[in-house]
Symmetry: C2
Subunit: 345 residues, 2 copies
């Protein structure tokens, strides 16, 4: 038996501890845990009354002109804040062009939608309601519907006591924004790790985290949301398959009209990404490992081997946080003044 | 000032009390309050494990082949256990032929569906899943989907520990039945009245209750569910407008093939009816007063005046019970083995 001195064992343990701390220190430079205090919202102070109203609106299918589709239809809070994919289905069974982004932690994104065309959640909330391939409604349909039910009118008065009228399309969107701002998922293993608990990630997840930083993933996927902050072309190095990047959808170009923004998208936020297959704006990739491999190739010019992809996927699994408890809302009852559903286009 | 003896006042009060008690006593002969103890289910002992599993299944859109439609889509627990109507919309935006019946208190019905073709809720649960115009799935799709997610497999083992395999289409239906059997809405004003609280109904509601019994409504709408026990033709006395009774839908005739069952339907259960417009199996009547008037004409041969219709509607509003608190379920995460959604027909 070889003799091993106590001093050499201590040295070994200590160097491992330092290595671990190095990883944690590096990670803390790039990522931030989900804050314990809910974030403040620009031009829209969050109150319990707004949140409760916003929850009802989020789950109310009568906002759509068909009476069938609610925000929760495509941003299902029971399945990671997204639908089954690949892209969403809306009014008249029309297929939307892009994968539903998650509402969970969306408050931490720099802007909303895959192309960042909405500066915040209140602007975002007005989009799908009016999109003919989604809820196919109008602001007039929304306010007529809400004004037809005294319970809603009362809740709007409570939530927006200074506004006359309190029921408006703007306030509808603000209430939804207030609710959505509460949809954060703290306490993922990675948050615990960033907060100093070195054992919150297992060895494979740490190896994945190291790869995620060393290979360059974290130059875009960074911050609280591990993404959601910047805009980059899908295909920095290599062009993705047309199935993943349909040529007709030029991404942020449509927003800015800048040639440099062709096929540019907001960096996908990766919180709870393991809950949210299929991946990419086109929703054509069903496995996290495969998605990781594609990103390595087209964004970084790196062919990741099986172990690397699997380690990074293990790390991404550590981004699954604590989903909030949501009591399913009982909605106000329609009246004879409520617009009846309309299924036609 | 006229002199009024104490004795005559007492006599007046007493006769009013007796009149009130007479009404209550008559009502107790015909109706029963929602029991405090949840009902037992034939061939399916209700356990907390089954109820929790059944709740997830009820809300899981991945049961449908499109991945979009859950039981809750048409039986929305936030809007009285029904959808916006008139009739339901399913796979491919197909319009179903009938109004969605409510799941609330459905455990108290003698049989399920408007035509009673399912003897119980476990048989009912298998219908819409497989109907091509509803969820358009197969038992194979359901069990494949459930078996692809370990969390579901574990929950089935807990809920059906004696069955091998525990995941089956039968057990899927039994779990949903167990959940639905908990969806009762006790403590409506009318329940409180039947339980002896004479002031639980106001005077108009009592007048409505009296009319409801005197005019004959209660010969069919009786029992715990104020209906749901018997089968009668829609149009006992007069033929309803074809808009309300489309000639193509012969009701229970399709179930029994008996000539006497043409245009026969299960008597509509009236619990929470005020939450559930539009009315009738065709879903073409949006006002409760109008529905009451139609029933008077075509079922009883009675033209009810405005006050009578309004009084009966007031009584029907007293059938709205306490809706349960439902925590929105967080669903198991899909895996690479989960069948992807399919939108085609």
């Amino acid at each position: 038996m070889r003799k091993v001195s106590v001093a050499s064992i201590l040295a070994l343990v200590s160097s491992q501890a330092i290595a671990r701390d190095d990883l944690m220190m590096s990670a803390r430079q790039i990522f931030r845990p989900i804050p314990k205090v809910l974030p403040a919202i620009r031009d829209n102070p969050v109150t319990p009354e707004k949140v409760e109203l916003g929850k009802k609106l989020f789950f109310d299918p009568r906002i759509s002109v068909s009476g069938i589709i609610s925000c929760n239809t495509c941003h299902n809070l029971g399945t990671g804040g997204v639908d089954a994919g690949p892209t969403s289905v809306g009014h008249g069974w029309q297929k939307g062009p892009r994968r539903a982004p998650t509402v969970y932690n969306s408050v931490f994104n720099v802007a909303q939608f895959w192309d960042g065309r909405a500066p915040d959640l209140k602007a975002q909330a007005k989009g799908p309601v009016q999109a003919s391939a989604e809820m196919n409604a109008t602001p007039d349909h929304v306010t007529k519907t809400l004004n037809s039910m005294d319970d809603y009118v009362g809740m709007f008065k409570q939530a927006f006591p200074r506004d006359t009228p309190s029921v408006s399309f703007d306030n509808f969107a603000k209430a939804i924004e207030a609710f959505e701002s509460t949809l954060t998922t703290p306490a993922a293993p990675f948050d615990q790790y960033l907060n100093g608990n070195a054992s919150a990630l297992n060895d494979q997840q740490k190896a994945g985290l190291k790869l995620f930083m060393d290979k360059g993933c974290s130059s875009c996927h960074r911050g609280i949301n591990i993404g959601g902050q910047d805009y980059f072309p899908f295909g920095v190095v290599g062009k993705p398959d047309a199935k993943l990047l349909p040529t007709a959808d030029k991404g942020r170009f449509v927003v800015t009209n800048a040639v440099g923004d062709e096929y540019v998208f907001r960096v996908a936020p990766l919180r709870n990404v393991a809950l949210r297959a299929p991946y990419f704006h086109s929703g054509q990739v069903w496995s996290l490992e495969e998605a990781v491999g594609i990103m390595g190739e087209v964004q970084l010019g790196t062919k990741l081997d099986d172990k690397e992809r699997s380690d990074i996927a293990a790390f991404l699994n550590a981004l699954t946080g604590h989903l909030p408890n949501i009591e399913y809302p009982m909605l106000p009852t329609r009246t004879n003044e409520t617009p009846p559903p309309s299924l036609g286009r």
